[in-house]
Symmetry: C2
Subunit: 383 residues, 2 copies
């Protein structure tokens, strides 16, 4: 096991009818800015619950935050928060709204151009406190201190600053009843790939981290289909929601190497072609596993055996079988595993690699051995 | 899954040569009181590492804290901390030293008799901040906000107050090299039983919590023997240390029912007969599982299958096989599973029950169905 630090002070408030806890969780005498997305919270009752729980506070609203929150849109939120002297932010939404809120929190009192927080990893001297009401289990942003913001076709991450942890995150599984199949499927696969990026690397003598990761994967495999196919099934919604949070809150990744090459390549595909984040992961991951088969051999065999119960005596067949089962799982969640579905073709590979190099000028993967040639191979196999 | 809150702000600093991080973790200009046990930290080098890292600070020491820290001894520490205007506490030790430190932290600025914190669950208005250097993986006190203090033959717990979380806990697996077999075995079994008390209850549709619990148990079963039999084996020490912390930090118990009857009965055995805490658990748990077999039937079968790989078609045989394997494991860690080893006899049962009733005037267990008659049956089977 590698040396590590683990620190996660987010207070999780989980369960039915917990949005009303905002009444005590949000500071009483602070001016609040509530950030949300396209308005679905108005039709599913979440907005009303939040407003009722905040009763008596001065609250301003900022809405219209879309998937892959855009820098220009966030600058509007930052201007409004400055003008109104906002003291506390409340994100009501999924990963995009939470990521956007983190960027606003970091930028409101930042003296320089907020763009430099993303482009130069500048660290603001003050970060506004914020809370979260989660409406879409997927990204884990509700319990980590990372964020991804887009500007045109660029997706740039920032974080690692403990001030970017939310003060609290309310996880009420019932609010997910109004999500559609695409949102639910994307969420399950997003969480699944978050785990795989931390788990499927090289053996590192961390059996507890392995088992925690395997536990999340097995639970997503079991509960994912119920989430998609059974309406208002509280238990599966609760289990998937908790899995998605645990998938990326620092715990399972403590003391072990990480990969993240699927995410890095996926971000380019979202930036250039507008493909949903989780859909880029579903298409890229199987190809990464095939191309990196030798590096990841031991962990892939463990994954085949423990997660998919594949007991084939031939190691290569076991690995391919596990990757095929992974693809079947993504497909069953409604996510294609081929880029051609999105009209990404061989001729696009060069521009994807160029854009990737632009954003990340180093090799990818747990061994930093995924160079341009390997990225090309991964993309070709994913077409 | 039940509704739950999860909040754990302890910063874990894990790995080789991490004690030196005290230099930045302990506040610079605060007067520090360092609390420790019988002096083993002076022979194994931990004391020197701590003192070196605290260099430049005003530090007073309080030593001699034994197993099952005694109230009277703690009152001495509280008096000293008051007299010296101590502002930060540093526990250097195992669960007893950490529990003792929590009691001092809660009592120094408490206006009333500190005994009422234990006897009446009084809540102090101010709690001193403290940090931890862990030397014995076992109790999980380094990452939870609970504590157990003894007064004569009484063991009383307090906690649940987030101010009783340490600000940081340094977990260096190398400091465990100097522990003896008894301490190591006790630690492994203590952590194991912490998990079982949260896991082996009734099905509650929380598959991720189940798998996390099973992951800790499986890892302790694999790594425990290496800790006992292989000298200075870093990886197994690291894995057991991380397991013990994760066993009782709130995570695996979120959203599910708990038992804790083994602990409650065990505390009486420590109080009345001076038996090591973990040794009481090793003797009582198998008996609790046998007596509560019908209540725990479904989870016991899952435990047999998933943790011990017992596949007997007969359910009762599977359960008994799993309990026997549990006993074998405790024995292999050097812990007896019979009370007669400690000269506890049938004639003592009445006084044990009387003392238990005195401290906990309600039924025990996840269904609150362990009454006096059942406690008697449990003790009789454990003789």
């Amino acid at each position: 096991m590698q040396n590590f630090e683990f620190y996660n002070p987010v207070k999780i408030v989980f369960g039915k009818e917990q949005i009303k806890q905002l009444e005590t969780l949000v500071p009483q005498r602070k001016k609040v800015m509530m950030l949300y997305g396209g308005g679905s919270i108005k039709s599913n009752g979440v907005y009303d619950q939040v407003v009722a729980a905040l009763g008596g506070r001065e609250v301003i609203e900022f809405s219209g935050i879309g998937a892959n929150p855009q820098y220009d849109k966030m600058m509007e939120a930052i201007e409004l928060a400055k003008k109104e002297d906002v003291e506390f932010l409340l994100a009501v939404g999924g990963g995009s709204v939470i990521d956007a809120t983190k960027f606003v929190a970091a930028s409101v009192h930042f003296e320089k151009d907020p763009w430099t927080i993303l482009s130069e990893r500048q660290r603001p001297s003050k970060v506004l406190p914020f809370g979260v009401v989660l409406t879409l289990p997927a990204t884990g942003s509700e319990m980590n201190c990372f964020s991804v913001i887009s500007k045109g076709d660029e997706k740039l991450g920032f974080g690692g600053d403990p001030r970017l942890f939310s003060k609290f995150s309310i996880l009420d599984p019932e609010v997910t009843y109004s999500l559609n199949e695409r949102q639910l499927g994307n969420g399950v696969v997003d969480a699944f790939v978050h785990v795989v990026e931390q788990y499927l690397t090289k053996p590192s003598n961390a059996p507890l981290q392995d088992r925690f990761a395997e536990g999340i994967l097995q639970t997503l495999i079991e509960e994912g289909p119920k989430v998609i196919h059974v309406n208002e099934h509280y238990e599966s919604r609760a289990n998937v929601m908790w899995c998605a949070t645990m998938a990326l809150n620092g715990l399972i990744g403590s003391g072990i190497p990480h990969d993240w090459s699927t995410h890095m390549i996926g971000h380019e595909l979202t930036g250039l072609f507008g493909i949903d984040h989780a859909r880029t992961l579903a298409a890229v991951l199987p190809s990464v596993l095939r191309v990196q088969k030798e590096n990841k051999r031991e962990k892939l065999l463990q994954y085949a055996r423990r997660v998919w119960n594949v007991q084939t005596p031939d190691a290569d067949k076991s690995i391919e079988e596990a990757i095929l089962l992974t693809e079947d799982f993504f497909n069953s969640m409604g996510l294609p595993t081929r880029l051609r579905v999105y009209k990404v073709e061989e001729k696009d590979i060069e521009s994807i690699i160029k854009s990737l190099r632009n954003h990340i000028p180093v090799n990818l993967g747990e061994n930093q051995d995924i160079d341009e040639a390997k990225v090309e191979e991964i993309l070709r196999k994913a077409l």
